[in-house]
């Protein structure tokens, strides 16, 4: 079947032909212009340039493009105490020794490249707590990695029976958090360490409030970049991939509708392959892990 032109006006003809950027041409029997080899090659070239940009900018201009996390220790404390107060438990008080222990634990995980309660050298969470000067009767530890916000971290802990047991235990009075960014297994990671305790020798309430202590800790966290790398890369993947999948889908639909026989590979196979990639990327965007 041959497509008929609407009229002989050159502008209208140009406008009419523009749709063949997105639809296969019935006369030329080719894919849409945006799916021809030249176009696919251009997409690959653009992606290679973007890969170079994403490698160069975070190294040389870390304040512009980088990995951002919206997790803050003050929000973690707020959500944790909210869960406790809702169940009639006492709110936990921030303890500097537990903050120090949590930070040391997070740094130890990055330095020794592990993700566990006990380090490969056999160092347990209690060792960090004791070495920070906190003499405990009861102590506990919750870990999380790669979450993007504080409420999701606390929600994940509440949903897990063993973590909830720590979070809602009557045995604890004190709490300390660490939110540290670093490279784990070669991958940019945000680790959250939550340490609980009940001191053998209860300290007199310090003159410094919990909020001030948290602000002091948070001021040491590296500044957030202007553009979040994770959002940018995932958006490019989904938009670019989705665009090409849409073009291939239009190709199948229009070729069938107009009975266009073309010389090309299996379009449906391309769609399945691309969709699998997009689904994989979305799966990898799921909330992080807890331990």
């Amino acid at each position: 079947m041959i497509a008929r032109l609407p009229n002989k006006d050159p502008d209208a003809l140009k406008k009419y032909r523009f749709i063949y950027h997105f639809l296969p041409h019935p006369e030329e029997r080719k894919r849409a212009k945006l799916l021809l080899h030249k176009a696919l090659f251009s997409y690959c070239f653009i992606l290679i340039v973007l890969l170079g940009v994403f490698k160069f900018i975070p190294k040389h201009f870390p304040g512009i493009l980088g990995y951002a996390s919206n997790i803050s220790t003050s929000a973690l404390l707020e959500y944790t105490n909210k869960e406790r107060v809702e169940r009639g438990l006492n709110p936990l008080v921030i303890n500097e020794a537990l903050i120090k222990a949590a930070n040391e634990k997070a740094n130890s995980m990055f330095e020794n490249n592990y993700w566990a309660h006990v380090s490969p050298k056999g160092i347990e969470p209690w060792d960090f707590i004791l070495s920070s000067g906190y003499d405990y009767i009861y102590a506990g530890e919750n870990l999380a990695k790669n979450f993007s916000n504080s409420s999701d971290v606390v929600e994940a802990w509440v949903q897990s029976p063993t973590h909830r047991e720590n979070l809602l235990s009557e045995n604890y009075n004190d709490i300390g958090f660490a939110v540290v960014n670093g490279v784990l297994d070669g991958y940019e990671t945000t680790l959250v360490v939550q340490m609980f305790g009940q001191n053998r020798t209860p300290t007199v309430m310090a003159e410094v409030s919990s909020t001030d202590k948290l602000q002091a800790v948070e001021s040491t966290v590296k500044p957030e970049p202007i553009i979040d790398m994770e959002v940018v890369t995932k958006s490019i993947t989904i938009l670019f991939g989705g665009f090409v999948v849409t073009l291939f889908s239009l190709d199948i639909w229009y070729s069938k509708k107009k009975s266009i026989l073309k010389i090309n590979g299996h379009t449906f196979a391309h769609i399945v392959f691309l969709l699998a990639i997009i689904v994989s990327v979305m799966v990898s965007m799921l909330p992080g892990a807890i331990l």
Partner: protein, 85 residues
């Protein structure tokens, strides 16, 4: 006949590989090295499909092989960006 049998085999392989890819991506989502390796294997495998397709259909081999190669390369680059370089 030979060509249509090949088509069935191709689709079965691609769908199985797609499902396997999603599962492995979920399983290894925090290990970029394994993800990059899997992506490279998947995309190279796709190029091989293009070559086999051309051999089986015996027509327009260069055009079709080039198309599969470009789609494979495009997907690989998209994945590298998604994984975070």
């Amino acid at each position: 006949m030979r060509s249509s049998l090949y088509e069935v085999i191709e689709y079965v392989f691609i769908i199985c590989f797609a499902i396997l890819g999603v599962v492995l991506f979920w399983f290894f989502r925090f290990n970029p090295f394994i993800l990059k390796f899997l992506s490279a294997v998947g995309c190279f495998g796709y190029v091989i499909f293009g070559v086999v397709h051309s051999v089986v259909t015996k027509r327009f081999s260069r055009l079709i092989t080039l198309e599969y190669s470009l789609v494979g390369l495009f997907v690989y680059l998209i994945l590298l960006i998604a994984i975070g370089n």
